[in-house]
Symmetry: C2
Subunit: 380 residues, 2 copies
């Protein structure tokens, strides 16, 4: 927002779903509300339900009562609904500010109505707040805390797997078959204790793990690869952790060992390449190189893709997935202080899936690890 | 979407944040994806990462690979980004479908680009899927399950409060001061065990509880009203519960007893009024009547509002807040089978806050309770 030509930001969103709204106002508001900047001041228009809290705890300089603006809108346009567009228009007129920048995900309904009312809205080409990518030390610490929470979840999974008894190909935990659901419960409980909420936790084994977004259901088996991917949100800050480890309880085959070794080698190659000024595509290419050199082919089959068919990493912060992305199609240079996951994976039904994911902050040299958990995976 | 004049729906959203996307496709997709209808068929365009799972488990009739459409977009427009608008345009052209209805919260960026490309988009005036308000028996059961989860959380809170020792005005639980944070942890753990995730749980006492969206921090005190509001999402269905009880550990004053009695009387009056064809504003009016008759005044003060300053209820389903709303400003008749919360509250700093919330399904007679928990609140 630094350029004098860029109009100031305007948002209509809640801060649960919109990381931009949370970043801008630094306060949790569960329903969509109007937030905008004019001059150097940040304005919010909220209902009586939020007023006191937002006034007390947010980054907004001016907090205005929604009810007063709705009343004014009713008086101004007796024929119109007194909705967010009308409220925004009235406030903009008071502030003598007729141009705003809105994010790409600004609601089209409000956008269209503001156009009719005569406001001049520019849709941001890319992030509304490019500064979100540049993580401050406090933000990096919040992400590290998120990964401490992820690691607590992964440790709980490892503990449950180690405590499970092997009976043939079955895993028995505390007298009953170990399932993905029971493993996820142990993980999510550990995350809750660590101050975060882990939703959509992945604890998937065997062929299920070959679908990287399959969260896992039913019995987990011995001697099979089990992917554990934990991405909690820390309640206090809104920042996330995102880590993955792959375990196997029992005895691994040579093919499983080679697969895991390839993924870890690919991760190390990628981590070695991450640096300010490097193209995300180049980092992704390092992973592909390792897999190709070791004979792991990526291809589409009638039942889905096999091999390595997702990106190498994504930005992490107030959103789980945010810029910058590192994959085979985007051309974009990594910036200093941005935070990315590095998470190569290989997936072959029959053999199994493996993904290893850590989080780093980009520097002009070696990246700073923001996640920490060991890489021992074969739990005999 | 039944009217022949309404163009078919088009969405670009993920199904974590967009209940419409989840309702339409009945599958969890964590990143925004293209979903639309043409004729009687539902189409989705998803990446390799989601393809197999969406094909196997969703309500989509046709699942198409994103990568193929991105490739086609690059070939068609070498100068443009190959983004969602281009993908939608190419698919629409294949289907010979140039008009769609989009939800009010459709992303303005994609909306604007599709306009430039020449698609004719109508923004829904109200919900994209009005059918979401009409809860089927299975959906009502899923909401009942959500409230079973809420009740498990509230029961955990009651247990902790009962087990806490009273030392003067302090509450000591397991040897340490009981805090909002510890109470929320007990609630959220119970919700997790019951199959749901409770985020932003409210466990606030004293003057904190007078701000209805304050989640509560620090020590909870004896002889003070403590509001416990639990609104988990059930992982398996995406549906929510939403219940509130107000407790007091210790001895209540006459003024506290009168306050709680007024809120419960107001809730019963509102529940008595809920019926298909009744205006939501009328239901809200019943609550106001009870409070007025008992001398509870609502007004704005420099530090925020006091009295009863939120709506009486809101629709509940895949979203925590969805139509219909029941408050003092909206004029809207309740429809049969819709599901609403009924949650009057009174808030007076110094005395305390009280809110009691249950969930009902609207019928042509007495509403069906979809939540269940006792109303004993004074825990001596």
């Amino acid at each position: 927002m630094a350029s004098p030509k860029t109009p100031p930001p305007l948002l209509y969103a809640d801060s649960e779903n919109s990381a931009d709204a949370l970043y801008f106002g630094r306060v949790g508001v569960p329903d969509a509300f109007v937030a905008l900047q004019s001059g150097k001041k940040k304005y919010a228009v909220v209902s009586a339900l939020e007023f006191g809290r937002v006034k007390r705890t947010s980054a907004f300089d001016v907090v205005l009562p929604l009810e007063a603006y709705v009343k004014k809108a009713r008086a101004t346009w007796p024929q119109r609904k007194a909705g967010p567009a009308e409220v925004i228009y009235l406030l903009a007129r008071e502030l003598k500010q007729s141009r705003f920048t809105v994010p790409e995900d600004f609601p089209a309904g409000v956008y269209e109505q503001l156009y009719e009312l005569g406001l001049d809205l520019v849709i941001a080409d890319g992030p509304l707040f490019p500064g979100r990518e540049n993580k401050t030390p406090a933000e990096a610490a919040a992400i590290r805390e998120g990964n401490r929470c992820s690691a607590a979840g992964i440790a709980a999974a490892e503990r449950v797997l180690r405590e499970s008894k092997i009976k043939g190909h079955r895993l028995i935990y505390q007298g009953r078959p170990l399932t993905s659901e029971r493993l996820k419960f142990a993980i999510e409980l550990a995350c809750l204790e660590a101050g975060g909420a882990s939703l959509n936790t992945i604890a998937a084994g065997g062929d299920q793990a070959c679908d990287p977004h399959d969260r896992g259901t039913g019995p987990l088996r011995a001697h099979e690869l089990i992917i554990v991917d934990v991405f909690p949100r820390i309640a206090a800050t809104g920042f996330h952790g995102d880590m993955t480890r792959t375990f196997l309880r029992g005895r691994a085959s040579d093919a499983q060992r080679a697969l895991v070794a390839a993924v870890r080698a690919a991760q190390l190659a990628a981590l070695h390449a991450v640096r300010a000024g490097v193209n995300g595509r180049t980092v992704h290419g390092k992973v592909v190189e390792v897999f190709t050199a070791r004979g792991y082919e990526t291809k589409q089959t009638p039942r889905g893709s096999v091999g390595f068919f997702h990106g190498t990493g994504h930005g992490l912060g107030l959103d789980i997935h945010e810029p910058p992305r590192m994959n085979g199609t985007l051309d974009r240079l990594l910036k200093k202080n941005s935070v990315v996951t590095v998470e190569p994976g290989l997936y072959y039904p029959g053999l199994g899936g493996c993904r290893i994911e850590d989080v780093v902050q980009v520097t002009s040299g070696k990246p700073t690890m923001l996640s920490r958990y060991h890489y021992n995976w074969e739990l005999r």
